[in-house]
Symmetry: C2
Subunit: 164 residues, 2 copies
C-alpha cells in the first residue's frame, strides 16, 4: 500500500487496452430506445427534406403550414396552430415570414375582429405545388427504402405514437 509498492506496471499498464474502435461501439439498451431511433431517423429525413426542396427555401414547418392553409382556406391562426401542434406565440413570426415571402395573407375576420383568417396567394399556391412535387422525391426514396407496406406501417405506428 506504500508508494513503494506501486509497481511500474501501473505506469506502463496497457492504457489503450479497453480503447474501442468506433466501428464496434456498443450502444447497449440505447439501440432499443424508440426515442433514440426517432431522433436519428428524424435527423436523416429532415436532411433529406432540405436536400429535396433545395431551391424552394421552405422549412418543413413552413411547408406544413402552407399545406394546411391551402387545404383549408379561411382557417384562423389558432386553428392552424392546434392542427399542427404549434404554439400561437411561435406561429406569429413564422406566418409573418410566409407573408413577407408573398405566399400567404392574413385577413381580419369581420365576424370576430380578433381573428385572422389565412389564405394563400396565387404565388403561394404555385410554390406549394412545386414544393409538393419535389417532396414526392423524398417520399419515393423512403418508400424505396422501406417498401410500400413498410412505409404504410411506419406511418400508422408513428400516428399511434403521437398519442402516447
Amino acid at each position: 500500500m506504500s508508494p513503494r509498492n506501486v509497481r511500474v506496471r501501473a505506469v506502463r499498464a496497457p492504457l489503450v487496452a479497453d480503447r474501442q474502435s468506433s466501428a464496434e461501439v456498443d450502444l447497449g439498451p440505447l439501440s432499443g430506445f424508440i426515442g433514440y431511433r426517432l431522433r436519428r431517423a428524424q435527423l436523416a429525413v429532415f436532411a433529406g427534406f432540405e436536400q429535396a426542396l433545395r431551391g424552394i427555401g421552405l422549412s418543413p414547418g413552413q411547408l406544413s403550414v402552407l399545406v394546411v392553409i391551402s387545404r383549408n382556406p379561411g382557417l384562423t391562426q389558432s386553428d392552424v396552430c392546434t392542427a399542427l401542434g404549434i404554439q400561437r406565440a411561435n406561429f406569429t413570426p413564422l406566418l409573418h415570414e410566409l407573408e413577407a415571402m408573398g405566399l400567404a395573407v392574413r385577413q381580419v375576420l369581420p365576424a370576430d375582429r380578433r381573428s385572422n383568417t389565412l389564405r394563400l396567394t396565387s404565388l403561394g399556391r404555385d410554390v406549394v405545388a412545386r414544393a409538393l412535387a419535389l417532396h414526392e422525391r423524398l417520399e419515393r426514396r423512403i418508400t424505396d427504402c422501406l417498401g410500400e407496406s413498410g412505409r404504410a406501417q411506419l406511418a400508422e405506428l408513428l400516428c399511434k405514437l403521437e398519442m402516447v
Copy 2:
C-alpha cells in the same frame, strides 16, 4: 367583363363561409409525410421522456452519452460523437456538464495526448442505472400502445430510415 357586370355578390360574399372548425382540419398530403409524422411522434416521446425521468435531470442526449460511455469505457470524445451522430463542437459543453455533475470523467490518453478517454464515475453508474430503470416505464407505455410486434417493427423501420 366590364366593371358594371361585377355583381354585388362579390362584395357581400359570405365572408365566414369557408371557415372551418378546428376539429375538421384537412391535413391533406401532410398526413402521409413520414417527416411530419416523425416530428409529431418525436415530440410526444420526448415529452414522455422528460416526464418519466423527472427528478433525474438528464436530457435524452445526456443519457445517450452516459449509456455509450458506460458500455464502452475508454472511448474518446470523437468516438462517442461518431457513434451518436453528435458534432464534436457540440459535444464539449455537453460532456463538461456531465463532468460537472460528477457523472463522467475525462482522462488524457497517454498514447495520444490529444485524445481524452471517457469513463463513468461510480455515481455516474448509479445514475445511469436509475435512469434506465425509469426509462423502462416509458418504453413499456410505448409497447402498451403499439404492441410488442408493433414496437419491434417500428424500431426496425426507424433503423432503416436512418440511412436513407
